[in-house]
């Protein structure tokens, strides 16, 4: 028997307190008033003797309370020898890593073999459970004592494409220990990749009654991989494309690698790159000859290493004509159009083309044919166009509305029907102008705009935001930029104009990025990433949108969602590498490329010391030294028993004390 916190035993000194109270303290009693002492005579009795006789039981209970409290804090334990996974009521947990890196060589087969050999030596007097680990922990069996069931579960493990996370494993083991209320004996069969470690070692903490045994089935091997590809999602001009691919070598010598750009299965370009030792190199492709529509593109290297699955990086590119933007304006005022068009069409890739239509001739224009619509200070819109625009927005379109004096005459913001409360003026003379005040700089309209530096606003319109989100306010708290979701689409309101009259924004450097970023945001370019990692989620529909069915085809060409899921699900977890085809509710077709997490390509293992630390073994002792088949010493903490005894002693003490208390009350 030992003590985990022996310094608490100093608390035994407190035993002196009840001893002093009961035996040594001078007996004092309050004088009792009596009507007459006529018939009383002086008699004395030894008070110490009296106390000792009367309160011996109470004193014993109090001493017991002090002793038990001290022992409980000192955490006593007993040690005993226990065969592996037997007799102790412990749960044998076998965790098999099935992350992407386990595809290397025969790592998974080795893990299975080791797990099976452990099972052979296991005597099923207690329970076992098999888990599979990637970015999440998957229970392959429930708690069982059937060896066959455990063996079948081990054999069923297939290498996946996700990344392994030891932090997630530790969290799952903590909750398993809490729910099972049993000591756990955990055997982890993994290649112990360094990248699987969480950022903080504290995340690996296991509960005190969990014993971890690590089985390393991997070793450090050189591996080249295409780490990332940066490519535009939409290509308008194939001559103006820039595709950047990063080739990384992990534990590799310096070498030359051939990098190929493959579009729709056809190699369109090949470069040779020198990858430094254990380093990275970048390859640039400046043309992308691809047909109109979605194209399945890929950057591939010839690595000749033992993990070929990370030698290519998939991405999807849409070749399309410039997107048309409908610009509705008052026929008389064309300055706003001039500035906006110049800013939008000056962007490098020419992704947008502005088509200007005056408000009185827009009645027959179909807004759904445009990427988005800009309504620039328009007094009134033809009702048929307004209806069509609202319908288009609800089904996923977007619009931008600039409020100027003409629009303010209507006192209502078109489409949103928000009230325009008043016009805020600032004189041009002196410093009397308004500037940008509070703003959400994470919003695309404010990204790369340096907070609209030096932009002066002379007139803005105070729009009642209602349930719209205020993205930016001027210094006098007038909302300058608002955004509101309408159905599936969104409307952005700029409460000033683009004509260099109400403000000098069009003349400032911030205007071009503002127009460009906002155009990309409204046309939906920003929402889609070039590539997704396996295990990440793809947003299919926004919260609260109508439940119209959409369709997702997986990398194998089969539907990834059931009919009911297709009607309701908001996010789809991308579990396999390859191309996913998404046909959205608004009829838009989209191609999404999914690649394994590239952190899995780094096959370097965790240092031995770190693994020992995680297992709780002393430094320098090999992880393999703690063989699972040898009897082990188990500590059994007795603090709980002492706490229970303390509770009982406290109850006894209370009962005895209350009895004496009531007696003395009666006497008084």
């Amino acid at each position: 028997m030992g003590f985990l916190s022996p310094w608490f035993l100093a608390g035994f000194a407190a035993v002196g307190i009840p001893l002093w109270v009961h035996l040594l303290r001078r007996h004092r009693s309050e004088p009792l008033q009596f009507s007459s002492l006529m018939f009383f005579e002086q008699r004395t009795q030894s008070s110490i003797k009296h106390r000792r006789l009367r309160y011996l039981l109470l004193m014993a209970a109090r001493i017991a309370v002090v002793v038990l409290l001290t022992l409980a804090f000192a955490s006593p334990f007993v040690t005993r020898s226990v065969p592996p996974g037997e007799g102790t009521g412990s749960l044998l947990v076998m965790v098999l890593d099935r992350s992407f890196s386990m595809r290397e060589g025969n790592r998974l087969a080795a893990a299975k073999t080791e797990a099976a050999s452990l099972l052979n030596s296991w005597r099923p007097a207690s329970y076992g459970q098999v888990l599979a680990l990637d970015s999440q922990v998957h229970l392959l069996t429930q708690r069982t004592n059937s060896v066959d069931e455990l063996r079948a579960a081990i054999n069923s493990v297939e290498a996946g494409d996700g990344r392994s996370s030891f932090g997630e494993l530790a969290r799952a083991l903590r909750s398993l220990s809490e729910s099972e209320k049993l000591p756990l004996e955990v055997h982890l069969f993994s290649d112990m990749q360094r990248t699987s470690m969480p950022s903080g070692f504290a995340d690996l903490a296991l509960s005190s009654d969990t014993r971890l045994v690590l089985h390393n089935v991997g070793s450090e091997k050189p591996n080249w991989a295409v780490e990332s590809v940066t490519a535009p999602r939409v290509v308008n001009d194939p001559k103006k494309v820039r595709i950047l691919a990063t080739v990384a070598g992990y534990a590799t010598p310096a070498a030359s690698r051939n990098v190929s750009l493959v579009v729709n299965g056809k190699t369109v370009s090949t470069r040779t790159v020198d990858v430094p030792e254990n380093g990275r190199a970048t390859v640039e492709f400046l043309t992308l000859d691809a047909p109109h529509g979605w194209n399945r593109a890929e950057v591939r290297i010839d690595s000749a290493d033992t993990l070929p699955a990370d030698d290519s990086f998939l991405f999807a590119v849409e070749r399309s004509d410039p997107r048309r933007v409908l610009f509705v304006h008052e026929g008389r005022q064309r300055r706003g159009l001039l500035y906006y068009k110049a800013a939008l069409e000056s962007t490098a890739d020419g992704a947008f083309q502005v088509e200007a239509v005056s408000a009185d001739s827009v009645a027959n224009v179909a807004p759904e044919k445009f990427a988005f619509t800009v309504i620039s200070d328009v007094a009134s819109l033809p009702p048929s166009f307004e209806r069509a625009l609202v319908q288009s927005i609800k089904s996923g379109g977007s619009a931008m509305i600039a409020i100027g004096p003409a629009a303010a005459a209507r006192a209502m913001v078109p489409i949103l029907e928000s009230k325009i409360a008043q016009s805020k003026y600032a004189a041009r003379s002196g410093e009397r102008f308004l500037a940008l005040g509070k703003a959400d700089e994470a919003h695309p309209a404010l990204q790369r705009t340096n907070r609209w530096e030096n932009v002066k606003f002379y007139q803005a319109f105070d729009v009642d935001p209602g349930d719209a989100r205020v993205v930016a306010r001027l210094t006098d708290q007038t909302p300058i930029l608002l955004e509101k979701r309408v159905g599936q689409g969104r409307v952005v309101v700029f409460t000033s104009t683009f004509d260099n009259i109400s403000n000098d924004f069009p003349l400032r450097p911030a205007f071009v990025p503002f127009v460009e970023r906002l155009a990309r945001y409204l046309s939906g370019f920003e929402e889609n990433s070039v590539g997704y990692a396996v295990g990440s989620y793809l947003e299919l529909r926004r919260e609260g949108s109508a439940s119209r069915a959409l369709e997702v085809l997986g990398p194998d060409g089969k539907r990834a969602l059931s009919l009911s899921e297709a009607a309701t699900t908001q996010n789809l977890q991308l579990t396999r590498p390859g191309y996913y085809e998404v046909r959205r509710e608004n009829g838009r077709h989209e191609l999404v490329a999914v690649n394994p997490d590239r952190r899995e390509s780094d096959l370097r293992t965790i240092p031995e010391e770190t693994l020992n630390l995680w297992q709780g073994a002393p430094q320098g002792e090999s992880a393999a030294a703690a063989t699972p088949n040898e009897p082990r010493e188990e500590r059994r903490n007795l603090a709980w028993y002492f706490l229970l005894a303390l509770l009982a002693a406290s109850v006894v003490e209370s009962l005895i004390a209350s009895r004496y208390l009531s007696t003395s009350k009666e006497t008084a």
Binding site: L32, F39, Q45
Partner: protein
């Protein structure tokens, strides 16, 4: 049910002595008091030959006409007696081992007795004393006398006491007319002293009753541990053991009560022990039953 309300602790919760007295006395057989004197009432007692000095108004002139002898007609007086209650308000009367102190119990008894006497048109008076005569309401049967009596009783609070005999000397001067004198006290004095002190009241033709009020704890103390006891009147202190309180003290107390009772009887003084945990009406009924025909 009625008995429950007559419990001293229940009566203690009733504010107003008149209500307490009414609660206790109402329902009693009225008229138990009988005057020790012959007076003027309807109940004939006897004839007596006229002697010089007798009041001529009492001569039965019919008998004189028939026999030419003067006889006095005598009636049993029922309402003409004086009832005076001497209420001890010494410090020791404040003792209590339960919810009703002795002084309260004594007040209830005094109020009940005077209420009973007043109910049958006796003249009633009260003397409240400790070392001195603290309050005195002369006996009277006038209207409002009951209220005065109750007021005086209610005002009685435990004061001091070192000398038992002193107030009785003063009382002798106050009680000049004959009647019934009821002394309500805890009589913490030797029986000889008590009788010697109170006896002079009887010599004047008064009927004297000693009502001994004691707390049950005073008769049989329940000490569980050695305690220092403090005399409420003298302030003296004494360490007492439970063994003494359990065995020797009760014996001495019983001897004291028995001595007081026998010496009172020997002196022609009535004695009655009232323990404060007894129901008040039960106590009064016993007292009146004992005295039936005499008061």
């Amino acid at each position: 049910m009625e008995q429950r309300f007559l419990n001293p602790s229940v009566l203690a919760a009733i504010s107003g002595l008149e209500l307490v007295a009414k609660t206790v006395v109402d329902g009693f057989i009225s008229g138990l008091h009988r005057s020790p004197d012959f007076g003027f009432s309807q109940e004939f007692a006897e004839y007596r030959a006229y002697a010089p000095g007798d009041d001529l108004r009492h001569v039965d002139w019919n008998v004189f006409a028939r026999t030419e002898r003067a006889y006095l007609k005598r009636y049993r007086g029922e309402t003409n007696t004086l009832v005076t209650v001497l209420l001890d308000a010494s410090k020791s009367m404040a003792f209590s081992s339960h919810s009703v102190p002795k002084i309260d119990y004594a007040r209830y008894i005094a109020a009940s007795l005077t209420y009973l006497a007043h109910h049958q048109r006796d003249a009633i008076g009260v003397v409240v004393f400790d070392d001195e005569v603290r309050d005195y309401v002369p006996p009277s049967g006038r209207q409002g006398q009951m209220a005065r009596i109750l007021h005086a009783i209610e005002r009685a609070e435990p004061g001091t006491r070192t000398d038992f005999a002193k107030p009785f000397v003063l009382c002798q001067d106050l009680l000049r007319r004959r009647g019934i004198v009821v002394v309500v006290s805890d009589f913490w004095e030797s029986p000889e002293t008590v009788i010697r002190t109170t006896e002079p009241l009887r010599f004047r033709g008064n009927e004297l009753v000693l009502l001994h009020v004691l707390d049950p704890e005073e008769i049989r103390p329940s000490l569980r541990e050695p305690r220092i006891l403090l005399d409420m009147e003298t302030g003296d202190s004494l360490q007492v053991t439970p063994e003494y309180a359990r065995h020797e003290y009760p014996a001495r107390m019983e001897a004291h009560i028995a001595g007081l009772r026998s010496k009172a009887q020997a002196a022609g003084i009535g004695y009655f022990l009232a323990v404060t945990n007894r129901a008040l009406d039960e106590c009064l009924r016993e007292y009146l039953s004992i005295r039936q025909g005499r008061m």
